[in-house]
Amino acid sequence: MILAMLGEAWRAMGANRLRTFLTMLGMVIGVGAVVLMMSIGQGAQFAIKQTIAAMGSNLFILLSGSTSAGGVRSGSGGGYTLTVGDADAISELPGVLAVAPIHPGNTQVVYGPNNWNTSIIGTTPSYLDARSWQVTSGNVFTDSDVRSATRVALIGKTAAQNLFGDEDPLGKTFRIRQSPFVILGTLAVKGQAMDGRDQDDTIIIPLTTAQRQVFGSQFQGSVRMVMVQTATQEIMPAVEKSMTDLLRQRHRIREGMDNDFFLRNLTAAADSAAESTRIMSLLLGAIASVSLLVGGIGIMNIMLVSVTERTREIGIRMAIGARERDILLQFLLEAIIISVIGCFIGLLLGIGGALLTNALTGTMVIISGSSVVVAFSVAAAVGIFFGFYPAHKAAQLDPIDALRYQ
């Protein structure tokens, strides 16, 4: 029975191919748009998540407060209010997983005939832990390297390529501001930071070496920044509070006075970036859904025309024994077939479009099974929803009137 009706629906659709095709086109475009937008949205979300994962999770950054000399105020991190002692004290706080004092800077590095200006990060081994940054070859320098300020370095991929070309940098000696350094390890690729900076264009050296031999330091033991990692995201507010209290106490800041340091929650910033991407992809999906809705209305429109055109046929069918539900089913099936086939084509086009976008622009796209399932069920639902009214109208026709209809 259903099979016979499917055959009839197919025949009815074949009788007016152009119209069937145009009706289908509404669904094709709707579903295609939804799939494409969802793929791009999910791709963007995934890319953001990767960036966050590369940055490291549950991170705070502590910056020294600004200084003011002769009316000229330095920016945050300009002063030297934070000390290695502060960092050590913070590492004793409950919930703190890793603490890494950082002395950053940019300078020229030289190897043979090559030279390159890159970012130098003077820090301790826990920095790599906090940022979950591995070395792909060689070793990470140790705390004893930090204590004795040895001239060793870890090099990122971009910096290595510019300095060493195709040579393997491991074990090579190069110079930072005339001081020779030995490459102890090469860093894993991190890619772009959220601000677009190339995180692989960097060289990591022991904190003390950076302070004493590269950048120099006005005050022994002071640092520009401290990176702090907590065990979980949930305890970050608590750690933020205890850290602030601790530093105010250590820096002897009285009640009512401003902090002489800045505390930033990097994870919160990253989360808000992720959230805005999520909202963007929802928005894209919502806009695409509108075209799906328009496609559905197109189906309803054509089905209504079809019912009117075939009034006499409906009368004949009723006269030879079709029940109301037979007529209902016949027209409903037509609407569903149109939307499901349209959906299928739209799915292929949407996936094709997503792959094309990826190939042409390099934008990350993710075609997930869930988006395919959602698109398909929405299409079927649209077919039933918008096909029902015309089908119901057909089924409710009076057989005598329908038979007389010219």
Binding site: A4, I316, R317, A319, I320, A322, E324
Partner: protein
């Protein structure tokens, strides 16, 4: 006039009235109609246009319901039946033949004939088989794949008759079945009806042509919504 036993009456109508709502008020189309048609009869319903014979046929065919009065089809009171049961009656008990053939243009002749079987859930093979048998019976066995618009009016009407027969109905209702045909083709169609009647199928046909009506065994005349005459045809014995 044939005497009719109530028990074997295919159609029994008692005191039937039918009126329509019009802008000018209630219009009575049928007034106090009483009629019994026994199994195996061949009845021609005649009358000028507007006499109520089409309304009467619609009620006989369970496409319309009487305003008052009783209609028993095959012993069942039609007024008590729901829409689905009426559809089932139209499917199983009644076969319709229309003036305009009313074949579905998109389907082959075979599929047209088999269409009523879809609505009572007969399997595809059985449908094809029965449709082909009937197409052969009406003399169009070689045309099974043809489309309705490729054959003549007389041939289309034969296909329509085959469709009416496909579910082995007890009753055939034909509304001006020869109205669109020339007299020779009309005669052939009437011969087909006579053969079917001979096989025991009850036939009720509406016509306004005397020589078509003369093929029937009994003639019922309507005028102004009432039956004005009801008698056996003079020629009825010729073929029966």
């Amino acid at each position: 006039m044939p005497s009719i036993q109530m028990s074997d009456a295919v159609i029994r109508i008692e005191d039937l009235h039918k009126s329509y709502e019009t802008s000018a008020g209630l219009f009575p189309a049928l007034k106090q109609v009483n009629l019994s048609i026994a199994s195996g009869e061949f009845v021609a319903i005649m009358g000028p246009s507007g006499s109520g014979k089409s309304t009467f046929m619609n009620i006989l065919g369970c496409l319309d319901k009487p305003s008052t009065g009783r209609y028993f089809l095959d012993g069942r009171s039609v007024a008590d039946l729901g829409k689905d049961e009426l559809a089932l009656l139209r499917n199983r008990t009644i076969g319709f033949v229309f003036q305009g053939y009313n074949l579905l243009q998109r389907m082959s002749l075979l599929d047209n004939i088999a269409l009523p079987l879809i609505y009572c859930g007969v399997e595809r093979e059985e449908r094809q088989h029965r449709a082909h048998d009937l197409l052969t019976k009406v003399g169009l066995g070689n045309y099974s794949g043809s489309m309705p618009n490729k054959i003549s009016g007389g041939q289309q009407q034969r296909v329509a008759i085959a469709r009416a027969l496909v579910n082995r109905p007890r009753l055939i209702l034909a509304d001006e079945p020869t109205g669109n045909l020339d007299s020779q083709t009309g005669k052939e169609i009437m011969t087909l009806f006579e053969e079917l009647n001979h096989e025991g199928i009850t036939i009720v046909l509406v016509t306004h042509e005397e020589d078509i009506a003369s093929h029937a065994k009994r003639q019922v005349r309507f005028f102004d919504g009432r039956i004005v005459s009801d008698h056996a045809s003079q020629h009825s014995g010729a073929l029966a």
